[in-house]
């Protein structure tokens, strides 16, 4: 419960936040804090400075463009996404957010924080990859657009470099999506999860099996299980699932996600 000493700064603008992050090697952006604060409690990580992104209107808001593209501010909470009329344009987003942890966490946790922490068991990294999201990363040099597939680099590591911020996630129009997971109790930690989209062929992003989401494709949902098996996965073993069991679960949830996507 007891964090190491840390400096706290509440910038008034994204520009100020970027300066603070660039100027301080040990600074980290604080989004919802539902992962970062916990890791700091365990003292498994201890940034020197927290740059609080809460209350920056530039990072909020959900906009639906005429072509159906959703632009979601990185500091949008799960609850805000679930309740957003615009976000219904891509129904899977709200459906998946509704199964993350619990009300308190959903009220505070943000989609930007979820993808930036990129814990292998998180829901959103595979979902973002599956729906073909584009991440807008802002730095001193200006903004970069990074496809979700290239965004995730490792556990707790993403394309957001030192002195940069994820500001926005853009998601193209679409309805034929699916998500399936086997969790530790209802709404618990994912032992295996997969997000799928059908767009002609079936594209499934697998979570929980590697440091970053793994994409497999097939002509139809029936082909997905084989695609998973031949993807050369080496999933981690932990107290809840051995590598072998996790691999098996992944073939099942991948197929179920694909079937759900195809059925819509």
């Amino acid at each position: 419960m007891l964090l190491r000493e840390v400096e706290y700064v509440k910038p008034g603008s994204v520009a100020e936040a970027l300066e603070l992050l660039a100027a301080n090697d040990g600074a980290r952006a604080l989004a919802g804090g539902q992962t970062l604060i916990n890791v700091m409690k365990a003292r498994a990580a201890s940034p020197d400075m927290l740059v609080d992104l809460n209350g920056l209107p530039e990072l909020k808001g959900i906009e639906l463009a005429s072509d159906g593209t959703l632009a979601i501010g990185a500091m949008t909470t799960y609850t805000e996404l679930m309740r957003s009329a615009e976000a219904k344009a891509r129904p899977i987003l709200g459906e998946v957010c509704a199964t993350i942890a619990d009300v308190q966490v959903r009220n505070r946790g943000t989609i930007g924080g979820n993808v930036c922490s990129n814990d292998p068991t998180n829901h959103l990294p595979p979902l973002m990859v599956a729906v073909g999201a584009t991440m807008t990363v802002l730095g001193a040099a200006g903004a970069r657009e990074v496809p979700a597939e290239e965004f995730f680099l490792g556990v707790y590591m993403t394309a957001v470099g030192p002195g940069e911020l994820l500001t926005k996630i853009s998601i193209p129009a679409g309805k034929k999506d699916g998500f399936a997971a086997v969790t530790l109790g209802a709404d618990g930690t994912c032992l295996a999860n997969a997000a799928a989209t059908v767009n002609g062929s079936v594209r499934v992003a697998l979570g929980c099996v590697d440091a970053v989401p793994v994409v497999v494709t097939a002509g139809s949902p029936d082909g997905i299980a084989d695609a998973v098996r031949s993807a050369g996965l080496d999933p981690p073993s932990d107290v809840h699932a051995s590598a072998e069991y996790r691999l098996h679960l992944t073939t099942v949830v991948a197929t179920r996600a694909a079937e759900e996507a195809a059925s819509r």
Binding site: M1, L2, R43, L184, D187, V239
Partner: protein, 806 residues
Amino acid sequence: MTESSSTTLAPEKVEVQKGWGGQSLKRKEDKRLLQGEGVFVDDVKRHGMGYLHFVRSPYAHAHITRIDVSAAEAMEGVYGTLTGEEVAALTEPFFQISSVPGANIKDYALAVGKVRYVGEAVVAVVAETRELARDASELVEVDYEPLPALVDARQAQEPGAPVLHDDAGGNLMWSGLYSWGDVDSAFAEADRVIEIDELHFHRFNSTPLECDGALVEFNRGVEQWTIHTNNQFPGFAAIMMGPAMQVGLDKLRFVTQDIGGGFGNKITSHPQLVVCCLLARKLNRAIQWTEWRTDFHMSMSHGNERWFQETKVAVSSDGTLLGFKTKALDDAGAWLRYEPLGGVIWAQVTPGMYRWRHIELEFTQVATNKAPVSPNRGYSRMQHLWFTERIIDIVAHELGLDPVEVRKKNYIRAEDMPYETPNGCVYDSGDYARMLDLALELIGYDGLGARREQAKANGKLLGVGIGSTLDSGTNNFGQSRMINPELQFSGNNEVATVKLDIFGEIVVTLGTTPQGQGHETTAAQVVADILKCSPDDVHVRAGHDSYWNSHAGFSGTYASQFAVTGLGAVKGATEMLRDEIFKLAGAVFGGVPAEALELADGGIRIKESPDAFLPFMACGAIINANNAGLPEDLDVTLNCRYVYRPPFQVPDVEKKFGNLTLTYAAQIHVAVVEIDPETGYYEIVDYAAVDDCGKRINPQIVEGQVMGATAQAIGAAMHEIYEYDEDGNLLTPNFYDYHVPHALDMPPLATGAIESPSPFTPLGTKGMGEGGGAGIHAISAAIQDATGKTVTNSHNPYQRVWELLQ
């Protein structure tokens, strides 16, 4: 929408209740708790108190080669530290319950020279704030020389296994052979001998939501410690701490108000309390210790992990059980903090609910590099009853018999009650077959065939399982002599005082340390019935204070006994007070005999002329403040202390024979599971729990205990486990990986009750609350039923179920 829970009574079995006893009176405790005004240990503060933080071992097994606290002590805001060397110099090792070899280990409040499990406390640091104390703990330098870790009890006695305690000459802590009846001839005349190679009961505990803690003050003038703590068995803590600290028990004052759950897990905090006491004296300031969740998981009171090996069961072809033989191997973890009592406690329920008479069990307890085990709801009996229930279902499976029929054929019958078990325990009352019928009725047993088909049509596997347990309550501590004949413990006791104060207040003081069992309410119900007043007029003091002179050697709240020992004491003290009120009134009315008087409307009056009425207020005022002129020989104080002592004999230590507990409440649970064969994922889709704890003073409180125990069983059966890797790292040190049930995980529940009053207790009640193990048995059985595969482990997460199906 279906009700999440419903209650059914077996009407013909429930006595019509008169008075307050038997009513579901709303709890007196609730008002403060609902307003955030309870006082839990972490709410207690003192001026200038220092916050304690423990430096814990990152290694499961290692020599401590160097400890340097200088950097920590030099830090600003740090008040001081305590090391194992200091503890060893200032205290004696804790008294050991075990006979040799376990008796030879040297257990101190902090690790001395060696660490034996991850999370063991090595150094204590005290500072001005919680944060500073933890900061400073990171400056404490400890050098370790890692040793190989022993994490599997089955390897503990193999040659070359790492040895935890050189003093004990090996990892064997205690062993004993229990044999009753004529086992050999039972096996000789058996039609079938069923062999079960190995059954495993896993390691978990009840994780009370409030962890342990203390605020300890030292009064230099009288050299006495005041220990505000949530320890649930101060009597035990005191007899552990006094000799270790070489002080009389009058120097240790235990104070408790509200406790955030205990379930047995808060009995063995005496090592941490000793550290607080030593630091309070050393630093001359109040010491505040908060145990955090991760600390609790790593170091506090895990439940006993147990293997049952080479089990042989003697049965007739019709499913009649004759007897069994087995070898129980118990994993005590690194220290014997309450152990090896688990090595005899199981024997309270030796035959389970069944009539077999020929039983042999070889019990062995070993030390491993894991957190020490201590009592956990259902302590040691739960492990054994899971074993006996597994036997029933495995036998039924092997013989192709219906588990319901095998149970009914072998259950001890109502007409056999009171029933003496092969080892001399006396089951006081009960009707197990009737309970099973009620449970099956509640679950809709007859309709399950159709549901099975329906599930199959959906690609699911449906299974039903029964769990029968006994909740043996009110220990005869004489059973400890079977562990160590030297011990001078036997019987049991509990205390209550009831007094009538100046303004007529009826004040009740208990020796117990409730953690949510509603003692303030049920005690008031008992008092009100005797004094013919309203429970609202009865003021039951909240919590425990050993200054109140209302505690005895075994005072506390543990082992299913309040309804017998606690309420027995309340009844005794209240009857004494009632008789004194009669005496006083007789004198005040000028020599009116007791037979001519009666209690009514919060006072006492003359039956024939009700106008002659003396309210309790007058009684209290006369004795306490206006007593001139009362007859000299009037021996009345209106302040009555009563010690309830259950009728026990010292058991026969040679034969390991005798009555080990006074009451035997019974539970029969039925669980219906639905398994997704593709993943092993499963849900409990229906659940029924039938309880018989004799006369119920407050049925709603009793049902609450049944529900809570059931939920804990569901968590333990499906998810909860303290799993270690081969290096002795705990893999489930927090609520992320140690998954306890949440609201969405709970199945629909139907509860039922029958009442078989105990002939042996003051109120016909039985201790209860620990019967939840039934849920673990029921879920193991349901998974076996659904998969058709023998279930040999009490912990069945999705992966294990999937593996069963491969």
